[in-house]
């Protein structure tokens, strides 16, 4: 994949940049140009905000059958996390035993390597989750 494809997502993947509708206060991640609740009333009224990075596990799976890029990590925990701002995100849970992960568990984001473009390609980074401190 082309480098700009990773580069242009850096604000959200590195720094959790989301959007907030100034009309209804709903937070979306990644940022949206139109609020899913307010529609046209939100156009031009979507502010950029940074998520706190804290939330709780809504559901998870332990992935055994993984794509090539994730072969070395398996079995790994994949989860959907509801952030304290209300929006949900998908990523892996790391820095704990797979069996420790439970629905409702408090987690925080951690900056991690997500993958690489082949053996000599660029490495791309982003958020994963770990048990909250």
């Amino acid at each position: 994949m082309a480098i700009p494809r990773f580069w242009r997502e850096i604000p959200s993947r590195y720094n959790l940049v989301a959007s907030k509708c100034l009309n209804c206060a709903m937070v979306d991640f990644p940022p949206r140009e139109v609020c899913t609740r307010c529609g046209r009333k939100s156009i031009g009224n979507m502010e950029r905000v940074k998520l706190s990075g804290r939330g709780q596990v809504v559901t998870y799976s332990i992935v055994h059958d993984a794509p090539k890029e994730f072969e070395m990590m398996k079995p790994y925990v994949l989860a959907i996390v509801q952030m304290d701002e209300g929006v949900r995100m998908t990523s892996q849970i790391v820095d704990c035993e797979n069996a420790e992960v439970k629905i409702g568990m408090r987690v925080e984001t951690a900056f991690r390597r997500l993958g690489a473009e082949g053996e000599a390609g660029i490495i791309h980074y982003g958020y994963k989750f770990r048990p909250a401190a």
């Binding site: 992935v63 079995p75 994949l78 959907i80 949900r88 892996q92 629905i103 994963k128």
Partner: protein, 389 residues
């Protein structure tokens, strides 16, 4: 708007068909449907083709023209349309073709669905399937197609008390139905133990919770209802259609245990047909994973929310029970050549309504339903069919 009837059906064997190419499969199903409908080449006004990703599976785009070419209809210079929409593509193709007839533009349209998945390896095939999910905000973070459905399953178990055995009961039932379908990929019965002891794919789902990678194709001939009797004594009418979409990424959905796209598509189809879920005796639903069938029977209002697993375990969805679900064997046992799915489901329902389903015939079936998903449920299509007599 004019009514639309099915006047011909055709399908191939489903399975790992090493000796058959994409074009051979598509043509085999299409010609069967055309011959069955007893129409001549000059009767066909258009061809619609549902195909998920020939571009990735066999490096071939522009498949609508290819199919028209190899159908022997090239002299007709027909308009052809290829429809994309993940696993729902050929169900959408039926909807689009039906609208072209209902509007009066066309009288007879052939709708095909085909996928050739085994020319790539398992790992690559799964990566291609995963391309219907959100690549930037799910896949990049390690979300696999099975992993996303597994997270819906985990949440369903948490909220509704659905058990691992209830998930397994879906696969057991569908393999039993598949054992009576000579075109099915798997015609062998399995037990709950088979499912529970299978290698894990994405917990809580194992290998037997997942539909296979398959090759295959299916086709139907649609005709305006007022002209259908010229070609057949048993036209099956398409009496209602619903097509709906939802957030692409699973994490954005309102409720992780409900597919709103299915709920809305179902409501639209039942409203259009003037029917209710109680009228349906036979249904083909999108069981790409066992959890998908449990959510589908709930979201289509065949059973109350949260009771899909219990109903399956109690045999309420078995052949000739309260409602017969996936009599063909479903995606799990009949096979899951993605693009063929919506049309293959319609073929089974037409067979059932005509009374031609042999050992797996549902007694007294007058109204049948198909339910087809795209991706992890960002698209859902529901069609309702009824006997035309």
């Amino acid at each position: 708007m004019r009514g639309v009837s099915v006047i011909g059906i055709g399908e191939t064997q489903f399975g790992e068909l090493w000796d058959k190419s994409f074009r051979e499969l598509g043509i085999e199903a299409g010609l069967r449907a055309i011959q069955e409908a007893k129409i001549a080449a000059e009767n066909v006004d258009a061809i619609y083709v549902g195909n998920m990703s020939a571009g990735k599976f066999i490096d071939q785009e522009h498949v609508a023209a290819l199919v028209a070419d190899y159908s022997g209809l090239v002299d007709q210079h027909l308009p052809t349309v290829r429809v994309e929409g993940g696993g729902a593509c050929s169900a959408i193709a039926i909807h689009q073709a039906a609208m072209s007839i209902a509007s009066g533009v066309h009288d007879i349209v052939v709708v095909g669905g085909a996928e050739k998945m085994t020319d790539v390896g398992d790992v690559e095939a799964n990566a291609i399937l995963s391309s219907t999910t959100d690549q930037e905000w799910e896949s990049v973070f390690g979300a696999t197609f099975a992993g996303l459905y597994a997270m819906m399953a985990r949440r369903h178990m948490f909220e509704h008390g659905t058990t691992r055995e209830q998930l397994a009961a879906v696969a057991v039932k569908n393999h039993k139905n598949g054992s009576m379908n000579p075109n099915a990929q798997f015609q062998k019965e399995i037990t709950i133990e088979t499912v529970l002891q299978a290698p894990r794919v994405a917990e809580p789902l194992g290998v037997f919770d997942c539909a296979p990678l398959s090759d295959g194709a299916a086709a139907v001939v649609l005709c305006s209802a007022d002209k259908a009797r010229k070609f057949t004594d048993t036209p099956i009418n398409l009496i209602g259609t619903g097509h709906a979409t939802d957030f692409l990424a699973v994490h954005d959905r309102r409720d992780l245990t409900t597919m709103d796209a299915t709920v809305i598509a179902g409501k639209r189809a039942f409203h259009a047909a003037g029917k209710t879920p109680i009228d349906v005796k036979v249904a083909e639903v999108h069981d790409n994973f066992t959890i998908s069938e449990i959510m589908a029977v709930e979201d289509l209002r065949f059973v109350p929310k949260g009771k899909g697993g219990y109903a399956t375990e109690d045999g309420e969805t078995a052949l000739n029970a309260r409602i017969s679900v996936n009599t063909s064997g479903g995606l799990k046992a009949r096979g899951y050549p993605v693009g063929a799915t919506g049309v293959a489901q319609a073929v089974e329902i037409v067979r059932q309504l005509r009374g031609e389903a042999g050992k797996r015939q549902v007694a007294g079936a007058e109204v049948g339903l198909t339910h087809t998903l795209g991706g992890t449920g960002a698209t859902a299509v529901v069609h309702l069919f009824a006997r035309g007599d």
